[in-house]
């Protein structure tokens, strides 16, 4: 492949790719995401390859191993185009029948399509399944349409057109202005306006500047960034290159987890392809703009997702948050201006540049724009990744997309933001998905990880769980965080074991208050957030554990003797 040297050549190539494709050619898109690896999507893919070969259909049928389709609960998933027939929980044994009946015979196999658990109604096409029907899949909708290892697939759906537009039709300041007007807020947890951050990095003195993709995704229950990045790496890369151009950066970093081989592989392939096509490296698309990207890996600690700790890690140092009072967008990696955004934030950039801030601003709420990826997990019927407009009521996410609570149990609480977030009770689930509304309620949208808990969940135990998590995942440098976690964890463990004392709640609040004010980094100052939210909404559960030695959810085993826990 020869390099693309101009915007016109890019469009030529795109036309060429599309013209060689036959929309009527059958294609089976199989989810190769990590969630479906356990149930054997790799074996399903092999079975399709074998069967297609057996029936000598190689030239007539395309097999596409794609990124996550989102409906993890029903994986492995295979969609047969052009009819968009969606088969769920496919096994290798089903494959010969699918090939003969559906791909060749154009008939739907009833037993493999979605059946509504309440009405028994069937839905054969993906877009008819309730889980997908009301989503707004601006970022994830193409995941079934492209092979993440193929840059041509991305180009065929209009990929890198936004980059060309930014490079040739816009000045860097105009790009930043557009992102500001769109009010794109950081998807990593803080909800900080991306445009302002870019502006700070652009204005900061110094020739050498860096841009970073935070693909660390360390919160338990968060798996949407992995799904998006693995399934459509070029989308994130395109956003990053646009950001680099706007900020004036020529070197970028991708910081991601080491333990997701598919993600590592797809990123590596995407980088190599982009370079080969002239979309990365020197003189990108003939514009004179140079930009290179390198990948760094986290090898397993939560604190390295904190922005300054992440940057120290890239420098080769221990991932400890930096204590200095200076923003990383002014002084980050090697004390140079460094702009960090998470995967989903970068992925939003190309569509804002292509379709404009006006269009983007029409989606979402007053102050939270666009769509948000949510990874739904816990006691929920449909675990998976959904993409919905900001402002969607939580109830709709839980009952509409999520299918409600399994085993006839009642919903108790929803937790956002992992160990730095908070829980809200069932009574508040009519609240909209919105950065500021959730913050006011004492939780935080976080990265979009939404943990659903049923009535059997003990909220005191959940507060203990998150501190236990942090006890091994914080850096341990500053006293309020390290010792605060140690003592709060001890007190909470005692309470769940029936050894709670009068005054424990006050002591917890006192320690939490000091950690929240005096800890060194944002992680340290947030360690008590889950606890605070539980104290706010479920204080009576604490009282029951401490005063009556009783666990209302019947979950704490050690309280069995005095009123009962049940065996699960």
């Amino acid at each position: 492949m020869a390099r693309i040297n101009s915007a016109a050549e890019l469009e030529e190539l795109r036309k060429d790719i599309v013209s060689k494709r036959d929309a009527a050619k059958p294609c089976v898109a199989i989810c190769a995401g990590i969630a479906c690896l356990g149930p054997g999507n790799d074996r399903v893919i092999s079975a399709f390859e074998e069967e297609i070969r057996k029936q000598s259909l190689e030239a007539r049928v395309e097999i596409r191993a794609t990124g996550c389709h989102g409906f993890c609960e029903k994986g492995p998933i295979a969609i047969i185009y052009p009819g968009e027939i969606c088969y769920l929980q496919v096994t290798p044994e089903d494959v010969p029948e699918i090939v003969s009946q559906t791909i060749v015979g154009k008939k739907v196999i009833d037993r493999l399509v979605y059946t509504d658990p309440d009405t028994g109604e069937k839905a054969a096409r993906q877009s008819e399944i309730p889980f997908y029907r009301n989503q707004m899949r601006l970022l994830t909708g193409n995941s079934t349409r492209i092979n993440p290892k193929s840059i041509e697939d991305y180009l065929a759906i209009g990929g890198y057109a936004a980059l060309a537009k930014a490079l040739f039709e816009m000045k860097p300041d105009q790009v930043i202005e557009e992102i500001k007007k769109a009010n794109l807020r950081g998807r990593g947890g803080g909800g900080f306006p991306a445009g302002s951050k870019w502006q700070t990095a652009r204005n900061a003195p110094g020739e050498e500047k860096y841009v970073i993709v935070n693909a660390h995704e360390g919160e338990p229950g968060a798996f949407m960034d992995r799904a998006l990045f693995t399934g459509n790496p070029h989308l994130v890369l395109e956003g990053l290159i646009i950001g680099a151009y706007a900020i004036g950066s020529h070197r970028g970093f991708i910081y991601t987890r080491h333990d997701t081989p598919q993600l590592r592989e797809n990123i590596a392939i995407a980088l190599a392809q982009a370079e080969e096509y002239g979309l990365l490296g020197e003189n990108i698309l003939g514009s004179g703009f140079n930009f290179n990207v390198e990948v760094h890996l986290d090898v397993g600690i939560f604190v390295s997702g904190e922005s300054s700790a992440l940057m120290r890690s890239i420098e080769g140092k221990a991932p400890e948050p930096r204590p200095k009072y200076i923003r990383t967008s002014v002084s980050g990696i090697w004390d140079r201006p460094s702009n960090l955004n998470n995967v989903e934030t970068w992925a939003n950039v190309p569509q804002i540049i292509s379709k404009g801030s006006g269009w983007y601003g029409s989606i979402g709420t007053d102050r939270s724009k666009g769509t948000k990826l949510i990874s739904l997990s816990g006691n929920i019927c449909n675990t998976g990744v959904v993409e919905v407009p900001m402002g969607t009521p939580l109830r709709e996410i839980i009952y509409g997309f999520g299918g409600g609570i399994p085993n006839g149990k009642k919903l108790k609480a929803v937790h956002f933001g992992g160990p730095m977030g908070g829980s809200i009770p069932e009574s508040l689930i009519d609240s909209p998905l919105d950065f500021d509304v959730l913050a006011e309620l004492g939780t935080s949208l976080g990265a979009g990880d939404m943990l659903v808990m049923d009535e059997d969940t003990c909220m005191v135990e959940m507060a203990r769980y998150f501190l236990d998590f942090l006890s091994g995942e914080s850096c341990g440098k500053c006293v309020p965080c390290r010792e605060g976690i140690r003592q709060m964890l001890k007190i909470l463990t005692n309470i769940t074991k029936g050894k709670g004392k009068e005054g424990d709640i006050q002591l917890l609040e006192e320690i939490a208050g000091v950690a929240g004010e005096a800890a060194l980094c944002s992680l340290g100052r947030s360690i008590a957030k889950p606890l605070y939210s539980v104290l706010k909404y479920f204080r009576d559960e604490f009282e029951a554990h401490i005063k009556e030695k009783r666990c209302p959810a019947l979950s704490c085993q050690e309280l069995a003797a005095s009123g009962g826990a049940k065996e699960k």
């Binding site: 440098k477 006293v479 390290r482 010792e483 003592q487 964890l489 006192e510 000091v514």
Partner: protein
């Protein structure tokens, strides 16, 4: 370096740009307690005992004086109810580890910290990092370092280096606010030189 003035505890204080609040306070004779600070070492910000309240453009926040840069017209309060409450808690958390450390006892008196607030912890180390940083930054030997993370973080001599360097140096010993360092060294020594009993006693 340009001179600026800021306000600390109601007093106008002159400072040079680039100074920290702690340095400016010290120059003006205002004392702020510290544990992990040392003039020869890079500011660390670990103990948070030097937390003070600053007011900037109408907003107050708690910051570590050892790291916070002075600014023109910055208003600093080194003793407020909130500051004292934070220091008291930090001291109580640390007293669980080293109830008999002199430095902590003096401060505990000042801030009304209760040495028995928390159950005693088996480790005596306060993680001020003075030994680790002194060895790395001043002596450039790296004979002692931090290992592990979170609540399991601790200091550890590197026997391969300690056996060559430490016996004749020990300059970090007087820096330690507790006896923990010496204990750790004795242990390492016992592991590295398992033999003469006299040395163990010495």
């Amino acid at each position: 370096m340009s001179e600026i003035t800021l306000q600390i505890d109601g007093r106008e204080v002159a400072a040079r740009k680039g100074m920290t609040v702690l340095e400016a306070a010290k120059k003006a004779g205002i004392s702020i307690p510290t544990l992990c600070h040392h003039e020869k070492l890079e500011p660390y910000g670990g103990c948070r005992l030097c937390t003070v309240e600053v007011e900037e453009r109408g907003r107050t926040k708690m910051v570590a004086a050892c790291l916070y840069p002075v600014e023109k017209d910055l208003v600093v309060k080194t003793r407020t109810e909130k500051v004292d409450r934070i220091r008291k808690m930090i001291l109580e958390l640390l007293l669980a580890h080293a109830p008999d450390a002199f430095e902590l006892q003096d401060l505990a008196l000042e801030y009304g910290a209760d040495r028995d607030r928390f159950e005693k912890e088996s480790s005596f180390c306060l993680h001020c990092g003075l030994c680790v940083r002194y060895c790395a930054e001043v002596k450039k030997k790296n004979a002692i370092g931090f290992i592990n993370c979170g609540t399991r973080r601790e200091i550890s001599f590197i026997p391969e280096i300690a056996s060559k360097e430490c016996w004749n140096c020990k300059e970090c010993f007087p820096l330690c606010p507790t006896e923990a360092l010496q204990a750790a060294f004795v242990l390492t020594k016992a592991l590295v030189f398992p033999s003469p009993l006299s040395e163990l006693k010495g």
